[in-house]
């Protein structure tokens, strides 16, 4: 699991980094989304990964074996903030597109 997850994180990071270095605003926003997936999984992973041990207390549940709830709480916050900032970035890129007439990150027309 760790191997799969870490490779996945790496691939998404790589794709995300590649995309945020591209000149089109849309590429950047897709890149940021991929990066935030990667980072969310990363945060999630630092607590160690366990299958089927959700941090939900109940009768007969040994609390010490459960998954670490802290990274989960952190990821939740990160997801929310990521959602908010994606929305914001989207609107800003729309505004930029409206004002400059193109979707280049620097408002330039075409790359020379």
């Amino acid at each position: 699991m760790e191997l799969v997850l870490s490779i996945a994180i790496g691939v998404m990071t790589g794709c995300g980094v590649w995309l945020i270095l591209r000149p089109r605003t849309y590429q950047v926003i897709v890149g940021l989304s991929l990066l935030s997936y990667a980072v969310n999984l990363f945060i999630f992973g630092v607590g160690g990964v366990k299958s089927n041990l959700p941090p939900i207390l109940g009768d007969g549940v040994v609390s010490s074996t459960l998954s670490d709830p802290v990274p989960q709480a952190l990821v939740l916050t990160a997801i929310v903030i990521g959602f908010a900032t994606t929305a914001l970035f989207l609107v800003v890129l729309l505004a930029s597109r409206g004002l400059t007439g193109n979707d280049h990150v620097d408002g330039r027309n075409e790359r020379k």
């Binding site: 952190l74 903030i81 914001l88």
Partner: protein
């Protein structure tokens, strides 16, 4: 500080948040009401900041630990009020007061929800200054950033939107770094509380320590982006100069937040122990590059706004170098410099708008988008309001000269005092007669050179602005726009006159910071209030 005033620690966060929430219930058209709420909140905030500052100026060390939700220290979130945070709170409050008043003249009405965003910015800033928890710091960083995105874009227009996009993109990446860093630190140390972290670092195994340092490194990049270290700073001059004047004025403290966090964390986590001095080299060389870049930028700027933006970098570079050198005496001088340069740059940003207003009569006030589609509900600037001040040009000129003097570090204002304090500490950093280290020399030379550059640039631009245009239109400037500028500048004068006591405070602050044990113990020993369950049980027993 027990009982009710203990809750004052959290008030700098709650007051603006409450104000922001209340503001949402009022329609944009009720501008006066909104302004009044915002103003009232800021004034209250100022009073609270003054009270907290005075408490911290007193003899007591660390009674200012606030356990949120009544959870004991490493588990719940704590707020910690110490000399540094009290200072930053006061700084933010004063700046807020000035910029808010300035904005009431016209800027607050060029877009929607200015006041809510402004208040939330204050909330984010104050939270970041107060919190003693790494992830909570992230949250407040994000609050502050989100509000700053909004405020930067306030008024719209191509320049602002482009600058805003760059600013947001860079800061989004920074936020991701922040998350990576925090989670690595949590994964290796198992805690998020900064004091607990400091206490745990000496005990962790080398393998984990490395990863912890990797986390700290990535985290550091996030803060350095905010602080504007070269080569992470290119967004800064553009963003700051594109922002509307009061916003830019308030932004003057945002880069200082980055500095604040680095100062706090390096002193706390890397002051001693296995990772002592972590990142110092990076700070030193990065600071050097920043200072050089800022200086060059100040020289090469044609527009005043960019010049002010680069001045921010100069100030950041200086601070970063000082942090890299990590010498107590220099640091206390640098703290004075931080305060002084924040006031200066804030005043300068507001002044620039007033000065440039005369050059192309109000055209730049509203961005080009204005009323492109004739939406009836859009706000317009009320040009006719208020009375312009007599002798406007003279006052503006004087203020401009004051800014120039402050930026160049010339007497008699606090720019000089701060620079002198730093330089004097640098010269005295060795024992008597022992020459300073090369790093200190470098800082010394760069500080002077940046002053020279500011002098050259400011005189060049000042002359062009105030004297060259013979038929220059006297800008319509309102009293409430001039007063904040003069207020901030007079604060620098006050800081200069009261340099001794101010320095005393900075010195105490730095000394406390360089003894992390005090902080750690204070947080660990902070006692929770007896829980309501126990209380109920006890009262039941009593009966």
């Amino acid at each position: 500080m027990n009982g009710w005033e203990h809750h004052l620690i959290i008030a700098p966060i709650l007051v603006p948040m409450m104000a922001a929430a209340l503001l949402l219930f009022f329609d944009e058209r009720r501008r006066v009401t909104k302004a009044m709420i915002s103003l009232a909140s800021t004034i209250i905030l100022g009073m609270i900041a003054v009270i907290l500052f005075r408490i911290e100026s007193g003899p007591n060390d660390f009674e200012g630990v606030y356990l949120l939700g009544n959870w004991a220290a490493p588990f719940g979130i704590v707020l910690v009020l110490d000399g540094l945070s009290a200072l930053m709170l006061l700084l933010a409050a004063l700046l807020a007061l000035a910029t808010l008043v300035f904005s009431l003249a016209r800027w607050h009405s060029v877009g929607a929800h200015f006041h809510s965003m402004f208040q939330l910015l204050l909330m984010g800033l104050n939270g970041a200054f107060l919190t003693g928890d790494l992830f909570n710091l992230f949250v407040f960083f994000e609050v502050m950033l989100a509000a700053s995105y909004g405020l930067l874009l306030h008024g719209s227009g191509p320049l602002r939107v482009k600058a805003g996009m760059h600013y947001i993109a860079v800061n989004l990446v920074a936020a991701l770094f922040f998350l990576i860093g925090v989670s690595l630190i949590y994964g290796t140390t198992g805690t998020l509380n900064m004091a607990d972290l400091a206490a745990r670092i000496p005990q962790i195994e080398p393998d984990r320590l490395m990863l912890m340092e990797a986390g700290a490194g990535v985290l550091g990049v996030a803060f350095l982006i905010k602080a504007g270290m070269w080569p992470l700073c290119f967004w800064l001059p553009t963003a700051y100069s594109a922002a509307s004047a009061p916003v830019a004025g308030m932004f003057a403290i945002l880069s200082k937040l980055g500095i604040y966090v680095i100062l706090r964390l390096t002193m706390l986590l890397f002051g001693e122990g296995p990772s002592a001095g972590f990142g110092a080299t990076v700070l030193l060389w990065g600071g050097t590059a920043t200072l050089i870049f800022g200086t060059i930028g100040v020289l090469s700027s044609q527009a005043l706004g960019r010049m002010a933006g680069y001045s921010v970098l100069v100030s950041s570079g200086t601070m970063l170098m000082v942090l890299g050198i990590n010498d107590g005496a220099i640091s206390s001088g640098a703290l004075l410099y931080l305060v002084s340069s924040t006031f200066t740059i804030s005043a300068f940003f507001m002044l620039i708008e007033l000065v440039e207003r005369g050059q192309d009569a109000g055209a730049n006030v509203l961005a080009v988008t204005m009323e492109a589609y004739g939406d009836g509900d859009e706000d317009r600037l009320d040009e006719g309001e208020g009375v312009t001040m007599p002798g406007t040009m003279a006052i503006l000129g004087t203020c401009f000269a004051a800014c120039g003097i402050l930026l160049a570090g010339l007497p008699p204002l606090s720019g000089f005092i701060a620079k002198f304090a730093m330089l004097s500490a640098m010269m005295g950093t060795g024992a008597i007669g022992v020459p300073p280290t090369p790093a200190v020399w470098m800082l010394c030379v760069l500080v002077i050179l940046s002053g020279v550059a500011a002098l050259i640039a400011m005189s060049r631009v000042g002359i062009r602005t105030f004297w060259s245009s013979l038929e220059g239109v006297v800008p319509r400037v309102l009293v409430i726009e001039l007063v904040p500028v003069m207020f901030l500048l007079s604060l620098t004068l006050a800081l200069s006159v009261q340099a001794g006591p101010a320095m005393q405070y900075m010195d105490t602050t730095i000394r406390t910071l360089s003894n992390p044990a005090v902080y750690i113990d204070a947080v660990h020993n902070a006692a929770t209030v007896e829980g309501w369950k126990e209380r109920a049980a006890r009262s039941a027993e009593g009966q």
